[in-house]
């Protein structure tokens, strides 16, 4: 399109020297281009890049609780961070949560495949059903699950008691709390993943399945031989998003483990559920040590970048681009 408009411009302005008019036209076009991406570009610079740089700078300083002059202390925050056992615990918990959270990906693929079966009735209802948790505020979701998980009066333990099992205090017991969070996390993310996977499945040409059935492949073979390989770019995308999201887990620790009237720290299961972002919040906003909080944020940034890079590396081994 740009070529044809340039040609048109040259034809009209045949009298003027072609060269200047061409570069003028190009510059005009470039200016337009920049003008159009400016809102997004400026937004990214001001609200993403600038804060990242500020955080990086803050992580080398010691600041007062209300900002003010930051004192440069070099690597002191990082030194403190690497000798703080709480950072290690929080990192391990975060990694464990992230790995377990990936279980949500195959679950979503299976559900998406089932919901895409031809002739299934009430698909719209199922989709709405699965998508509802996505549009519900995480805090509200956590509140509901808090009631479900209640060890003494919760419905889960009530149902278990009917079959003679005495359930644990799911979110107050260090042995179960992290898993309890993973379940809620997967449940919350399922709807979003489903929508993406269903779209992915719909873009797989129908005649592949027809050919496979003619060759005698059953639904399960079709799922593993056609759906999964052709869906692998989508699976890759969701895995990357899921890992990044899990690494940033905060709200479940804050609301499910604690609540408005009690700190998550008063939960005996806190040491096995504290995540790196919760620790960041605690340091930067509760104990007013913004510099140290920034150092933790930088650590998380590095981890996310590295893990994402690794995922992109590995995808060459298993992702098929049709």
């Amino acid at each position: 399109m740009s070529v044809s408009s340039q040609e048109a411009g040259a034809a009209v302005k045949a009298a003027a020297p072609a060269r200047t008019s061409k570069s003028k036209g190009r510059r005009a076009e470039a200016a337009w281009g920049y003008a159009l991406v400016a809102p997004t570009g400026i937004g990214l610079l001001v609200f993403y890049l600038w804060p990242v740089l500020q955080t990086a700078y803050l992580s080398f300083t010691k600041t007062g609780p209300f900002g003010g002059a930051a004192e440069w202390i070099g690597l002191e925050n990082y030194r403190e961070m690497f000798s703080d056992p709480e950072v290690g615990t929080a990192l391990l918990n975060t990694v464990e949560y992230t790995v377990l959270g990936l279980v949500g990906v195959p679950i979503a693929v299976v559900f998406a495949a089932l919901l895409s079966r031809p002739g299934l009735r009430g698909v719209a209802i199922y989709r709405t059903f699965f998508f509802l948790p996505v549009v519900t505020t995480p805090v509200a979701v956590a509140m509901i699950w808090k009631w479900l998980y209640n060890g003494d009066f919760g419905i889960i333990n009530y149902l278990l008691s009917l079959v003679g099992i005495e359930g644990p205090h799911w979110i107050a017991d260090p042995a179960t709390a992290l898993y309890a969070m993973v379940v809620v996390g997967i449940w919350m993310g399922l709807g979003y993943n489903l929508v993406i996977f269903i779209a992915g499945i719909q873009s797989i040409p129908k005649h592949y399945y027809e050919a496979a059935s003619l060759d005698g492949a059953g639904p399960i073979a079709q799922f593993f031989r056609i759906t999964v390989p052709l869906l692998s770019p989508t699976i890759f995308f969701i895995s990357v998003i899921s890992v990044i999201g899990s690494l940033q887990l905060f709200d479940l620790v804050y609301v499910l483990m604690g609540g408005s009237s009690q700190s998550s720290r008063a939960n005996p299961a806190f040491p096995s559920t504290e995540t790196i972002v919760y620790l960041f919040y605690a340091k930067a906003f509760q104990t007013n040590d913004k510099g140290y909080g920034a150092a933790i944020a930088m650590l998380l940034l590095v981890i996310i970048v590295v893990l994402t890079a690794v995922q992109f590396r590995l995808q060459k081994k298993w992702v098929t681009y049709a």
């Binding site: 209300f66 060890g151 003494d152 979110i171 408005s260 009237s261 008063a266 939960n267």
Partner: protein
Amino acid sequence: MAWIGRRAGALLGVAALMMATAACGGGDTGNDDPNAKVTLSYAVWDKNQVPAMQQLATAFTAENPNITIDVQLTPWETYWTKMKAAATGGAAPDVFWMNGPNYQLYATNGVLAPLDEKIAADKVDLSSYPQALIDLYTVEGKHYGLPKDFDTVGLWYNKELFDAAGVGYPDATWTWDTFKQAAAKLTDKSKGQYAIGANLSSAQEYQYNTIFQAGGSVISADGKKAGYADPATIEGLKFWTDLIKDGYSPDLKTMTDTVPLNLFESGKTAMYYGGSWNVAEFTANEYTKTRVAAAPLPKGVKSATVIHGLVNVVSAKSAHPDAAWKFVKFLGGRTAAEQLGKSGVIPAYNGTQAGWAAAHPELNLQAAFLDQVPNAVAYPISRNTAAWQELETTYLTPAWNQQKDVAAAATELAKAMDESLAKE
């Protein structure tokens, strides 16, 4: 391109305009003319008190027609986050509510305007307020606020469960021993009923009181050393961990799932150490409204209750410091206190508190809360209170969860808290 240039120019113009308006938003042009029209922002966090605050604002404007008050409600959950952001940006409200844990942080970092000169010039008598409250809000000998209200802690109890267990109601004669004997009788595991929930999440209502009753301390008077290594302090903590160990309190896991307040409000616990502010809660709750009353806290080595209260403070960056002080002085006066007492909180001005207790004679509030003021100990704070409050919870949780000996946990806490205090 001229077109784009014009557009960009227009955009710049709009942006400049917005910035100019934003700059104006900080307050009307400040000057010293006492008759100039002035609007003060007044930030509060309790929705229930907004009508009373509006009335006070109107009454103040009636006396000072050139000053209007804009009462701004920010819910408790976000109040301090917002305040910290506003203060960091130099845009804190002219006048706002301040509490103990945050006071020194704001006062010593230049967010609050010191009031001593004005207190002296206008001859405001600080002895009109409970001494412990004035102590709480004195930092390096300076005052940055005038008291608004206060609260103390009492023993709330469920009369129905006491009657059923055949235990006499608590009164001023109760000691820790009486309490423990009653606790044994009030616990009935077959019904899932306990004497009390040994709350870990509200030190103000639980640990701090027993620590002071045992003769211990949370923080040294100069705010530099932790008191947790003191054997008396440990006794005060052990009071609660023993209740859990003896089965008179539910374990920490149960209290994590269902907070002690909810256990008390559903008849699962017979007693509740609770602040005077619970009057509103317990008189509104269908279950507790006909069943509860209050008594003074049982005495340990001595009688003690934690006193805390709010002050009204003036922002150091206020464009109208004189008008703001006038308003704070008005709020701290007798007329405002009398008005405030009707809204359900205990006014800080001495001699205006009886009306608060009289509103609910059946709850026995006078004896439980007001008569205890002479025994009151100020809520412990330092410059960065939040930092070691976090440590308190972190280190005491294993003791409450019966995983760790309370003396060992308290000693470790003392060490960590000392390190935190050294950084202040």
